[in-house]
């Protein structure tokens, strides 16, 4: 396998409604930005991988009808879509193409224009098979309505949250602390959606409850935005940028589907906080990258945290903290920009969530930290190894990308 490096990351401005652009124009902004950042152009690109959440915009094969806007003429285009982890999977797809030698330079794009379509309608296409069978077999409308509330992503996370808080002793303040850190960091990042430089824990705990124990102020926004990255071989990367971000480990692991219904057998993950798939995925990616002690060797982490309890839970499952100790690290300030293990300096998913692009932005932000190009939100400590995590699918797929400032040890 060849060594693979990331040489540039492009973003669009994210907002709840980018109504002045259509999907193609939105993606075009990110693609132009990545070309501007790297000084490359479409002649240097051999292949394109692209992805978004299917059905959220109500459009099929957007990658092909916008091929003008992504400069895909006479190039292979591969669309990858795995729900919330789409961006992470697109990154892994781009990595495979370069590592295998099929292509030298690959453009990876992930986007979501949620205001264009109906997110609820899109989610219904995921859950309607389960809902229809419940209704057909005589579940009363009232129960169905309440249970459906628990079946969506916020519902799944709220059960996780209670389970996590029960076993680790984390309090609502601990959850709010994650949100405050994310949204304050987001204020330093130019493209993010929710910029709240003065947010406090009390402000978050004052907002109304959505799904106990998750409050309105703790839940990620729905954003419009796109992200584009360029993957290339280690040799070419050194000619393009001084410090590329080398992709040293990738992994994506699935578990049983985690739906609410009869068909799925209730909680198929018999334990909502076990997250076996996350442990396995982290183990595989770290093994590939040659990292034996993640809690010592990882300098920076981007955790996919649409809900704050997941930041705490996943960082433990990845191996950054000991079991049930994550909230302690947040209390001590270890995860701040100047801490010894900064997490989500970019603002994370909690501040910006363009579904398809979210997991790719985690990889892009980790790459920027390794390359030293994050700007205002560059962390104080030197970043040699960074990890980017993604969570999605039918709430059961974990993608991991481990980046480093040097190619993996052979």
């Amino acid at each position: 396998m060849r060594d693979v490096a990331i040489v540039g990351c492009g973003f669009t401005q994210h907002a709840s409604k980018r109504s002045e652009v259509n999907i193609a124009e939105l993606v075009h902004e990110a693609v132009d930005d990545v070309y501007k950042q790297t000084g490359l152009n479409y002649n240097d690109i051999d292949a394109i991988t692209i992805g978004n959440m299917p059905s959220f915009e109500g459009l099929n094969y957007p990658e092909l009808w916008m091929s003008d806007h992504i400069y895909a003429r006479h190039k292979p285009v591969l669309r990858i879509t795995t729900g919330g982890t789409t961006g992470g999977s697109v990154c892994i797809g781009a990595y495979y193409q370069v590592a295998s030698g099929m292509a030298d330079t690959v453009l990876a794009i992930a986007f979501e224009h949620q205001s264009n379509g109906s997110t609820t309608g899109g989610l219904a296409t995921v859950g309607i098979a389960e809902i229809s069978i419940l209704a057909l077999y005589g579940m009363s409308f009232d129960s169905l309505r309440m249970i459906m509330g628990a079946g969506g992503a916020a519902g799944a996370a709220s059960f996780q949250a209670i389970d996590y808080m029960k076993r680790s002793g984390a309090t609502p303040e601990d959850l709010a602390r994650v949100v405050v850190s994310d949204r304050r960091n987001a204020a330093k990042n130019w493209y993010t959606h929710l910029k709240m430089p003065d947010l406090t824990v009390e402000d978050v705990l004052k907002t109304p409850m959505v799904a106990y124990p998750l409050r309105f102020g703790m839940i990620c926004p729905a954003s419009d935005g796109a992200c584009a990255m360029i993957y290339t071989t280690a040799e070419k990367a050194k000619k393009i940028v001084e410090q590329p971000a080398f992709v040293n480990g990738v992994s994506s692991v699935s578990d049983e589907p985690w739906m609410f219904g009869i068909g799925g057998g209730g909680f198929a993950n018999l334990d909502p906080c076990e997250q076996k798939e996350c442990r396995l995925s982290a183990r595989a990616a770290f093994k590939m990258a040659g990292i034996d002690y993640p809690h010592k060797e990882i300098d920076y982490a981007e955790i996919y945290d649409p809900f704050p309890n997941q930041n705490l839970m996943f960082s433990e499952r990845i191996g950054l903290f000991d079991e049930n100790q994550a909230s302690k690290a947040w209390q001590e300030g270890r995860t701040k920009l100047n801490g010894d293990l900064p997490i989500n300096a970019s603002g994370g998913v909690n501040a910006t969530n363009a579904i398809g692009a979210s997991a790719m932005e985690r990889v892009a932000e980790a790459a920027l930290q390794v390359m030293g190009k994050a700007g205002d939100h560059q962390v104080k400590r030197e970043v040699h190894n960074a990890v980017a995590h993604g969570w999605g699918g039918s709430v059961n797929l974990i993608t991991m990308n481990v980046l480093g400032d040097h190619p993996r040890r052979k």
Binding site: T38, D44, D255, G266
Partner: protein
């Protein structure tokens, strides 16, 4: 590659294409400062065309043997689960294939009508007349119950009137059967704390 030759002379690129000028000479200079990025504020030409997407036309096919067996037993006030022949995990409600060993589940077992709450959440229900910001919505607890003898939990409701702060992980609950058993999922009306 022939593809590269053809694209070398593109047909008229948009004028605001800085990438084109710097082509073939990758610079080692640091990337432009984030503030220099241009965000287009207005596209007069981009118009929204409203349309809707209906899901009505879809048909979902479902293997009803498992759920039919389950609801048939609900009519007799019995709760059945299905056990994986390989790893012995009992799924309540039943599902066709064990997600752990990919064996087809075959063994039906009866489980107790008592169970424990393994996790919970709450929905916030507002009446239409209360749709004001200052009205605090009343939380309705939603619980994940694991029956005794089963390994999987499923999400259900408690008897109305039970407050959220009375619910805790590990709470023992019991099925409250509907007065009229019809062989439907609604035969389990809700759960009562023991």
């Amino acid at each position: 590659m022939p593809a590269k030759k053809i694209t070398k002379q593109p047909v008229q690129q948009p004028s605001e294409q800085p990438a084109k000028e710097t082509a073939k000479q990758p610079s080692k200079q640091p990337a432009a400062a984030p503030a220099a990025r241009e965000v287009k504020k207005k596209y007069e030409e981009t118009r929204a065309l409203p349309s809707f997407w209906s899901l009505e036309a879809n048909t979902f096919k479902y293997d009803t043997r498992y759920i039919q067996y389950y609801v048939d037993h609900l009519k007799q006030k019995k709760i059945v689960g299905i056990r994986c022949p390989s790893c012995r995990i009992v799924y309540v409600p039943p599902k066709p294939i064990c997600g752990r060993c990919h064996e087809r589940n075959t063994d039906w077992v009866e489980v107790s009508e008592y169970g424990t709450v393994v996790s919970f959440s709450a929905g916030y229900d507002k009446k239409k007349s209360d749709m004001r910001e200052d009205v605090e919505a009343k939380p309705v607890p939603i619980v994940a119950v694991k029956h005794e003898g089963a390994d999987s939990a499923y999400i259900t409701l408690l008897t109305p009137g039970i407050e959220l702060d009375q619910v805790y992980v590990g709470m023992r609950v019991k099925v409250v059967w509907n007065e009229k058993l019809t062989g439907a999922l609604s035969d389990i009306k809700w759960y009562d704390p023991v």
